[in-house]
C-alpha cells in the first residue's frame, strides 16, 4: 500500500504517453482496454482532445474477450475503422488487462498490416509505467517502422527538438517558442517531436546534426538516434530569453559538450517535477540569478545520467510526504497539488503545474517557459 495516493491524483501512464506522442501524426490510435484507460487519456491526459479530430479509439475489451483471447474481433473492428478512415498508420496500445493475458501487440500489428496494407505498430503499454516510457517506446516503434536504413545526408547546423508533448508543456505555445528561439538564432529546426510532427518531418529528422532534448521522454529516443543515425544530443529546456539553451546548443553543434555539475550540498530548495525542465530551472537560477543549492526530485521517469548528486527519485506519495515534511526545504517548487502535503506553514511554495500530474485541475495555469512572466517567477523565488 506504500504506493497509495491520498492527496495526489493518478499519474499519467505509459499508454497516455504513447498516445500523446502519436496524436498529431494522422494515424488511428487504438487503446486495447475496457474504456477506463482511453477515458483517462482523452479526458485527463490529452488537452488537445477537446476540439481535435484525432482518431483515438477504445477496443472495449470485455470479460469474455479477455478469457477467450479474442484477437480476431479486435482486429476486425480496427480493420473496419481503417477502411473508412484511411489513416497514415495504425497503432495498437496496451493497458492492464491485455498485459495480464499477454496480448501479442506486435503480432496483432503484423496481422493488421498484412490485412489492410496500412503500416501498423504494436506498443505493449501496460498502464503500470509512467508516460515517459510510453513516449519513448512509441518513438522507437515509429522510427523502426518508417525510417529505412539507408545513407542519410547530414544537414549542417540543424537540430530536432525532442520531448515536447502536452503532458509536460501543455498547449500554450511552448513548443513553438522553442522552435522560434533556435530559428531566430540561425539554427535550422528539422522537426519537433511531437507537437505538430508529421511522418515526413520524422523522415527528415535523421539528417539533423544534433538533437536537443527538452524533457526526459526525449532521452530514450535521443539515445536511439545516436546509436542508429549517429546524431549526438544535448539536454536543455529553453527558459526565459533562452540564451542558456542557445549557448549550449551552439557549442554542441561545434562538437563541444559541457557538463554542468550543480552544487546540492545543504540544499534548502527543492524543485519537484519533470526532470529536465527542473534541471534547467536549477541551472538558470544558478547561472543567471546566482541562486544555488537546489535539489531536483522527480515522481516520474528519470535518467540517471541527468541526475546531480543529491537529486531524488521519489517513488510514491508516501516518500514525497516524508521529503516535503523533513524540515530540510524552505522553498518548494512543485505542481500546485503538492502544496496540500506540506504541513509546515513557513515553507514557501511556488506552484509550477505539471499536466502529467494535476491534469485539467491546473493545466490552464501551466507556465509559458520563455517569457518575462517566467523570469519574474524565478526572480520571485530567489527573492522570496
Amino acid at each position: 500500500m506504500s504506493k497509495l495516493c491520498i492527496n495526489l491524483p493518478p499519474f499519467a501512464p505509459d499508454y497516455s504517453g504513447a498516445a500523446s506522442a502519436l496524436f498529431d501524426l494522422g494515424g488511428i490510435i487504438v487503446i486495447h482496454d475496457a474504456s477506463g484507460c482511453t477515458g483517462n487519456y482523452t479526458g485527463f491526459d490529452e488537452p488537445r482532445w477537446f476540439g481535435a479530430d484525432s482518431k483515438v479509439f477504445c477496443s472495449g475489451i470485455r470479460y469474455m474477450d479477455a478469457i477467450l483471447g479474442l484477437d480476431d474481433s479486435f482486429i476486425e473492428k480496427i480493420k473496419k475503422a481503417a477502411k473508412s478512415l484511411n489513416p497514415n498508420f495504425i497503432a495498437v496500445l496496451g493497458s492492464p488487462v491485455p498485459m495480464v493475458i499477454g496480448t501479442d501487440f506486435e503480432g496483432i500489428a503484423k496481422e493488421l498490416e498484412t490485412i489492410t496494407g496500412i503500416p501498423a505498430i504494436g506498443i505493449p503499454t501496460t498502464g503500470l509505467n509512467y508516460y515517459g516510457k510510453g513516449i519513448c517506446d512509441a518513438t522507437i516503434k515509429l522510427m523502426d517502422k518508417f525510417i529505412k536504413d539507408e545513407e542519410f545526408i547530414k544537414e549542417p547546423n540543424s537540430i530536432n527538438i525532442l520531448g515536447t508533448t502536452p503532458l509536460d508543456f501543455y498547449i500554450n505555445e511552448n513548443d513553438k517558442d522553442f522552435k522560434e528561439l533556435f530559428v531566430k538564432n540561425g539554427i535550422n529546426v528539422l522537426s519537433t517531436y511531437y507537437m505538430g510532427l508529421t511522418i515526413d518531418d520524422m523522415k527528415k529528422s535523421v539528417s539533423a546534426s544534433l538533437n536537443v532534448v527538452v524533457s526526459q521522454s526525449g532521452i530514450g529516443p535521443a539515445e536511439y538516434m545516436k546509436e542508429r543515425f549517429s546524431i549526438p544530443y544535448v539536454v536543455v529546456t529553453p527558459l526565459c530569453d533562452g540564451s542558456l539553451a542557445v549557448k549550449k546548443v551552439k557549442k554542441a553543434l561545434l562538437g563541444k559538450f559541457e557538463e554542468y555539475v550543480p552544487s546540492t550540498e545543504n540544499a534548502n530548495t527543492i524543485i519537484l517535477g519533470e526532470q529536465i525542465i527542473s534541471n534547467s530551472i536549477r541551472e538558470y537560477l544558478n547561472k543567471e540569478l546566482g541562486y544555488g543549492n537546489i535539489v531536483v526530485g522527480t515522481l516520474f521517469d528519470f535518467s540517471k545520467s541527468q541526475m546531480a548528486e543529491g537529486d531524488i527519485v521519489i517513488k510514491n506519495e508516501f516518500e514525497l510526504r516524508k521529503i516535503l515534511n523533513s524540515g530540510k526545504y524552505e522553498k518548494v517548487i512543485a505542481d500546485p497539488m503538492a502544496k496540500q502535503i506540506i504541513k509546515d506553514k513557513n515553507v514557501k511554495f511556488y506552484g509550477f503545474p505539471h499536466v502529467a500530474l494535476s491534469s485539467k485541475v491546473h493545466w490552464n495555469e501551466t507556465k509559458r517557459l520563455m517569457n518575462d512572466e517566467m523570469k519574474d517567477f524565478l526572480i520571485s523565488l530567489k527573492e522570496g
Binding site: 483471447g69 495480464v100 493475458i101 499477454g102 496480448t103 501479442d104 506486435e106 503480432g107 503484423k110 496481422e111 498484412t114
Partner: protein, 253 residues
C-alpha cells in the same frame, strides 16, 4: 543463434529429451542455453547434477529491482547455460504471465547478447494453453518448434493442438512447426500410429527415441544419458537427434 522450442504433452519426456539434446549439442561444440518454461521448474536438473536452480520468478520475488544476470543463469554439464523461468505460488497467480515476465527479464538483462549462445532451447510446459505459454513461439523467440510425442492418443491429441497453435500464428510470421520427436512408449505399431496422425497434423518424425532403462538410470544420478552413459546406443540416439534438429533448423533438410 538458433532458437528452438520443444513442446509436448505433460509427462511425455520433454525435459529429458531437451536436456539430452542440449548435452549432445554441447558435445558437438555448440554453446547452448536451455530455458525451462514450466512452473514446476525441473527442466534443467539433469544438466545441473540433479540440483534445482533458483528460478527467474524466485529472484524477482526476492528483489524485483535488483536481479542480476548471474542470479538466474547457471552453467551446467558441458557449459550448457541453464535457466528456469519458474512460476507463481502454486494455486495462485498466473503461470502464463509468469513466463512472459521471465522472458522480459532475460531480455532486459541482455542474456542473449551477454552469453551469445549458438542454440537456445525452450522447454515448454505441456500445451499452448494461453498467451504466456505461446511466448516462446512469438516473434524474436523460437524460430523452429518441435513436438515430443509418443504413439499414445492423448499425446498425439496434444501434438495436434500444439501444431495448430503454431499454425494459427502463421499470419504473424512466427516460429514454424518443424516436426515431431517420437519418444517411444512401446505402443503397438507406434511409428505407424504416429505417422498416420502426422498425415493429418502435418510434419515428419525427426527421430525415434526408443524406450530404454538407461534414461531412468541416468536421471537417478541427476544426469542426462549423454553425460552418464557416453558411447551407449541411447546416447548416440540423442546425438543423432541433435544433429537432425540442427540440420532442419539450418535449412539442411
Amino acid at each position: 543463434m538458433k532458437k528452438i522450442a520443444i513442446y509436448g504433452k505433460g509427462g511425455i519426456g520433454k525435459s529429458t529429451t531437451t536436456s539430452n539434446i542440449a548435452a549432445a549439442l554441447s558435445n558437438l561444440g555448440y554453446k547452448v542455453m536451455q530455458i525451462g518454461c514450466d512452473p514446476k521448474s525441473d527442466s534443467v536438473k539433469n544438466l545441473m547434477g540433479g540440483a534445482k536452480i533458483p528460478t527467474v520468478l524466485d529472484k524477482l520475488r526476492e528483489n524485483s529491482d535488483d536481479v542480476k544476470i548471474d542470479d538466474i543463469v547457471f552453467e551446467g554439464y558441458g557449459g550448457v547455460l541453464c535457466v528456469e523461468a519458474g512460476g507463481p505460488t502454486p494455486g495462485l497467480g498466473c503461470a502464463g504471465r509468469g513466463i512472459i515476465t521471465a522472458f522480459e527479464k532475460l531480455e532486459e538483462l541482455n542474456a542473449y547478447e551477454i552469453y551469445k549462445p549458438d542454440v537456445v532451447l525452450y522447454d515448454v510446459l505441456g500445451d499452448v494453453v494461453c498467451g504466456g505459454f505461446a511466448m516462446p513461439i512469438r516473434q524474436g523467440y523460437a524460430d523452429n518448434v518441435f513436438i515430443v510425442t509418443s504413439g499414445e492418443m492423448m499425446s498425439l491429441y496434444a501434438a495436434s493442438n500444439i501444431a495448430q497453435a503454431v499454425k494459427n500464428f502463421g499470419t504473424r510470421n512466427y516460429a514454424k512447426y518443424s516436426g515431431v520427436i517420437l519418444n517411444s512408449r512401446n505402443v503397438e505399431n507406434e511409428i505407424e500410429v504416429v505417422q498416420k496422425a502426422l498425415d493429418e497434423i502435418g510434419g515428419k518424425i525427426v527421430n525415434v527415441i526408443p524406450r530404454d532403462g538407461l534414461v531412468q538410470q541416468a536421471e537417478n544420478e541427476g544426469k542426462t544419458v549423454v553425460e552418464a552413459f557416453p558411447g551407449s546406443e541411447m546416447a548416440e540416439n540423442y546425438i543423432s537427434l541433435a544433429e537432425n534438429i540442427m540440420k532442419i533448423c539450418t535449412g539442411g533438410e
